[in-house]
Symmetry: C2
Subunit: 377 residues, 2 copies
């Protein structure tokens, strides 16, 4: 799964410790696939997935818009050449002074999900456009979003009405079906709720214009996933079903699906051992773990494809752990990982699908280990 | 629980975003308490708990030894003035070239827990002293260590014999009862296993000398904990029980208990909201969360004491979450946290007991948020 460009790069570049290599050609291809699959939707790249400047600059050149989680991410997008009208402040949890900073930088689109946040935006970014996030059930997602963001649809109606009364533009509704979502019906359910909010406010004379369909598009790890094209058709069908021939402006916020499959981590086997002479499970310790890049193995949520030089040989289930003195630094234990019996200390492994949610998640220096190095080629 | 020095510092220092303040006087007092409670044991501070140079320098001046998890931590201890004979390379998972680096820096004490690691140490640090970590059950610990480190006691006998045959000094046995351990019997059980390894090897003419009793000493969060003095007496009783009047050299590796209660984080309430009009649980969002300092709230393991300016008023259970767009960034949800009804957006909170396992755990820049700032006074 690693591209030839990544393999060539790794063959000639050595670095002490693990490193991530991201192939911009793959990001480029992912962007074009989204454009093709959802031609009516604007693409807002979720910067948090991987804010490498090279990625942001490429996406700016392709015409992408950006979803920022913080003022720092807004500044990264601006530094990469995006104009302020292409950036949304998509975090529903914002300090009022950060909204004021974003406003000063020209940002005019904000996520909200409660009355309190509407008041902050009305004070700090008067006249801005706001979209209200509604809760979805997150069913079918490998990294479900629980209840942290959004409010129930009936409350969204009240929140957007309140925004309208405070002089903001009640602009639309957003939802997020949960990361790595493979149930195509998830969008259908969320769009049904969205249409309810649109219709309720329309009856009061408030015309919403935007449906922010969020992210959730998966990247391929071990299991096959539906194509972006399939997602596009299914989403378009749901839009027609709930909005008829008056489909509003739509945006999507892919993060993982834009960069996940573009990245590969090279890591080294530090130790292979057993805990007792008669144990039949081997522990394999890598120089990367939960605290220097593989945070998303938390609760064994994301199961990355791992490539070794011996994958044609006999395999056995292993417990896979990271290099720190922290016992929480175990990637796969409840469901051990199949690795070749001939795997040896010092072997190099490639961990695929690691372009998203790896570099910025890494600890500053836990146990003295440095954060994940990254090369964008 | 914050000292007057910390309160004075916070009253005069403003910083954007959350910050940790550590009071060196408390670290000093903790060190003296350990010395008094376990006068026969050498203290090896677990650097990973908080490697701030000011802390390391203070401990060097007090005569502390150091437990390092990586070459970087060894270098930090040396930079703080510790001599190499005061540093142990305590991670059982080490690259051979890191062992060689440590050896070149003069380190002569290494943790091992399997045959493979013995071979690496024998090649890269010939003649070094090694101690073998045995598995403990971790019962009673709030942050149990599972099976990641150590081997069963019978295998430890074989591993140490192997070390002896490869020209290393089979120096001793280590164990770790699990972090934040409040069951005093945990040390008794581990010392029983340790004595078994000592006796088995003694019968073969190999005389071990060191018992590394690890860390696990708790810091006070919400619940009262036994005093260090109580731990000391209980451990000494167990040592007498298993070693009679031939008690070997012992060392302890406190980390959390040395710095945890010395630190206080100041944070700000970013948002308080509900998810529906009839919801009776409030969500309280702070500018600190699981990814910029409070990693140990993972699985709601560590429950920090939180101080507000309204603690004398009526309280209600709240869900406490961090500022990122990640739904895993929730500190307390399964067991909501009691906070005052009058708590308002913009209020400052103090999170106590945060001197250990906070700064270095923080993400590099997840969602664009910067790592936890730290001041050592």
């Amino acid at each position: 799964m690693a591209t030839q460009r990544i393999r060539d790069f790794l063959a000639t570049h050595r670095s002490e410790g693990p490193c991530l290599v991201v192939d911009l050609d793959v990001v480029h291809e992912n962007y074009l696939n989204f454009e093709k699959a959802l031609p009516q939707s604007r693409i807002f790249y979720a910067i948090k997935a991987n804010p490498a400047p090279e990625i942001l600059r490429l996406l700016v050149s392709l015409g992408s818009f950006f979803d920022a989680a913080s003022v720092a991410e807004i500044e990264m997008a601006l530094a990469a050449g995006a104009t302020a009208n292409r950036i949304s402040f998509g975090n529903t949890i914002k300090k009022e002074r950060d909204i004021a900073r974003a406003h000063a930088l020209g940002i005019s689109l904000y996520a909200i999900d409660c009355f309190e946040e509407v008041e902050k935006v009305a004070r700090a970014a008067p006249g801005a456009r706001v979209f209200c996030r509604v809760l979805t059930d997150g069913e079918g997602a490998e990294w479900p979003l629980s209840q942290k963001f959004g409010c129930v649809p009936s409350m969204a109606v009240d929140v957007l009405r309140y925004a309208h009364h405070l002089g903001l533009q009640a602009h639309g509704v957003s939802f997020h079906v949960g990361s790595q979502q493979t149930d195509l019906n998830a969008w259908d359910r969320a769009l049904s709720d969205t249409a309810f909010v649109f219709k309720s406010l329309e009856q009061e004379g408030i015309q919403l214009q935007l449906v922010n369909m969020g992210g959730g598009f998966p990247t391929r790890y071990l299991k096959d996933i539906p194509t972006v094209q399939t997602y596009g058709m299914s989403i378009f069908d749901a839009l027609k079903k709930y909005f008829g021939n008056r489909i509003p402006e739509t945006i999507i916020e892919p993060g993982r699906a834009m960069v996940g499959n573009a990245g590969v981590i090279r890591t080294e086997v530090v130790l292979i051992s057993k805990k007792g002479k008669n144990d039949n499970v081997r522990w394999v310790y890598l120089d990367i773990g939960k605290f220097n890049g593989l945070t998303e193995t938390m609760d064994e949520a994301i199961r990355y494809p791992i490539e070794t030089a011996h994958d044609d040989q006999a395999m056995e289930p292993c417990i896979l752990a990271g290099p720190t003195c922290d016992s929480a630094d175990i990637m796969y234990e409840k469901t051990p990982y199949l690795l070749p019996l001939s795997l040896t200390i010092g072997d190099e492994l490639l961990i695929h699908g690691t372009g998203a949610y790896t570099t910025t998640y890494a600890s500053v220096a836990f146990n003295g280990f440095e954060p994940l190095r990254s090369y964008v080629i």
